[in-house]
């Protein structure tokens, strides 16, 4: 029973009429006239209904709810006409055997009534103004469509008047294609500023989902996005704000398999990630695909920005760090803590550096370090290294080999071992110190003992086509050394996962 009423709703009478012996649960919802809406003081509400259709549509909703939730009864009453603050505008009551379906059905009915029943609400405000809810400019729920179309000239007027930008520069931005790897604390502000500036195409790559602990710094997401895939949700949010940019979500992890293909579709890559594996993959793939890259990292209150631009003197990451540092040697945001505005600053700087590159300005030289707690900036002059393994004159890294990014280095004890005390096809090298080997010999495994320090020398007791399996106590040192040896031109060096411990 759905009823429209010009007189006050008698909730008690409606409730009593629904009593029956089988009923175990009664849930009701009352909608009251509130004195504010979207920051304005409301003094009066007027409800208007298309009565015939309102009653048939309302009855239809109640019927649906009874069927869907197996209710014993469901009713709704709605006021029309003028209502004062505090008046009851709508009443929904449901009766069922148990509370679960009663709560759910009550919610369903009021949500559907608000969406489907032709009833309109006009608010009168304390300033004498009035407006139809959901129909006016100030409505919050739906996108307001301007009567006058907005032109790109209007949107970018304040930056086109900069001599460094001008209309020519704005056209360059519109032709620009930027890939953001990591939709986190750095990637969110970077994406916003790039889109706001009118960059033509933006790709967002992230395989993660939104966690509640992300929201304080990952400002494209809100409470309602928790659990949603970041790349797709970021694109959904941002494309509703900036209709002149084409956004592409890549809801996947950047890997050696997809990096080159993804990079080829863009001009500039933003490294907004928080781990060495992906940073070095971005670095190598950018160098190999001849794309510019803007790197940023943050740690608690400080951060750094570095730009690599092919064909210039700007260094790549491997010019300073030929070998990837151990993944576990720095703490992440989760462990070290961070205030959201810190990656906000550095993400905005990454966007700025990308915009400068698109405008044809010279790349930021060297490394910019900035401690935001003390406000102390620091510039470090970095030079391209001729012996860099990827961008140097005689590179050893010529493709994105998964072994260089922490993947593919490990050999598991199970599967690789033949159970006969050897790892088939591998020469096993125990890189532990003699003292360690004495305390815990490799259990029944034929191996050569060469301590890790020996590999620091120029000439190595290895052949470039040999297959070596390095073993240490837990698998950390052997993995580090395996990666370094690969970078020095020994492609078939592996690390025993878990080390000597795993053999026991």
């Amino acid at each position: 029973m759905f009823a429209l009423s010009t007189s006050p709703i008698d909730a008690r009478a409606l409730q009593d009429a629904m009593r029956r012996p089988e009923a175990g649960a009664f849930v009701c919802f009352e909608g009251w006239v509130r004195n504010t809406n979207e920051g304005r003081t409301v003094t009066l509400l007027e409800y208007e209904a298309f009565e015939a259709v309102a009653c048939s549509e309302g009855s239809h909703i109640l019927h649906e709810a009874r069927e869907r939730f197996g209710l014993l009864d469901a009713r709704c009453a709605h006021r029309v006409g003028a209502l004062a603050i505090g008046d009851m505008a709508v009443w929904v009551g449901v009766v069922s055997g148990h509370r679960g379906e009663a709560f759910a059905a009550c919610r369903y009915i009021i949500d559907e009534v608000k969406k489907r029943v032709p009833i309109w609400k006009k608010e009168h405000y304390s300033d004498g103004d009035s407006g139809w809810v959901n129909c006016e400019c100030h409505c919050g729920a739906e996108v307001h469509v301007h009567a006058e179309p907005v032109t790109e000239a209007q949107l970018y007027a304040r930056q086109v008047c900069l001599p460094e930008v001008s209309q020519e520069g704005q056209d360059r931005l519109r032709r620009g294609r930027v890939l953001i790897v990591g939709a986190g604390g750095l990637g969110c502000p970077a994406a916003l500023y790039l889109a706001a500036a009118g960059v033509g195409e933006i790709g967002i790559c992230d395989s993660d989902t939104v966690d509640a602990s992300n929201l304080h710094r990952q400002i494209l997401f809100g409470i309602q996005d928790i659990g949603a895939p970041k790349a797709e949700r970021a694109v959904d949010r941002i494309k509703s704000m900036y209709p002149f940019t084409i956004f592409t979500p890549y809801p996947e992890r950047l890997t050696d398999k997809n990096a080159m293909e993804m990079f080829c579709k863009h001009d500039i890559i933003l490294d907004c990630t928080d781990n060495f594996e992906v940073k070095f993959l971005i670095n190598d793939a950018a160098v190999l695909s001849k794309k510019s890259a803007v790197f940023a990292s943050i740690y608690q209150w400080e951060g750094q920005v570095q730009v690599y631009q092919p064909g210039t003197e700007t260094p790549c990451l491997r010019c300073q760090w030929p070998d990837m540092p151990e993944p576990d040697c720095v703490r992440t945001c989760a462990e070290a803590g961070v205030l959201g505005a810190v990656p906000g600053v550095f993400g905005a700087m990454q966007a700025l550096e990308a915009l400068k590159l698109l405008l044809g300005r010279p790349a930021l030289p060297g490394l910019l370090l900035f401690d935001l707690l003390s406000g102390q900036p620091h510039r470090a002059g970095l030079k391209r290294s001729a012996s860099c393994p990827v961008c140097g004159t005689n590179p050893t890294i010529r493709s994105v080999d998964p072994a260089n990014y922490g993947d593919g280095l490990d050999v598991e004890v199970e599967g690789a071992g033949e159970g006969n005390g050897t790892f088939d096809g591998f020469e096993v090298i125990d890189i532990r110190e003699p003292q360690e080997i004495r305390e815990r010999p490799l259990a029944g495994l034929k191996s050569t003992a060469i301590p890790a320090s020996r590999f620091e020398q120029d000439s190595l007791p290895l052949s470039t086509d040999g297959r070596y399996l390095l073993c240490c106590a837990h698998g950390a040192r052997s993995k580090y050394l395996a990666r370094r040896l690969r970078a020095r031109g020994y492609p078939h060096v592996f690390s025993l996962k878990g080390g000597a411990e795993a053999l026991v």
Binding site: G31, F50, K114, P118, W132, V145
Partner: protein
Amino acid sequence: MSANGAKNISVQYFAMLREQRGLSKESLATHAQSAAALYEELRFQHGFTLPLERMRVIVNESFQPWDVSLSEGDEVVFVPPVAGG
């Protein structure tokens, strides 16, 4: 149907549309083939601010898709975004 091929349609307005039109009901003659065409015609005439995408249409007391064709004597109601409750 009138002599020049126009259809006689009755149109009802609610809420914001009623205010912008200045009346709640009228009969009119139109050449519009669909409900969408009729709305656009009236929107142009009366300066309705709500775009078609945000509206729904009822023809002869049931909700219809916007491309529904109109016949002589149809009763049309343009439904602005609702806000019950």
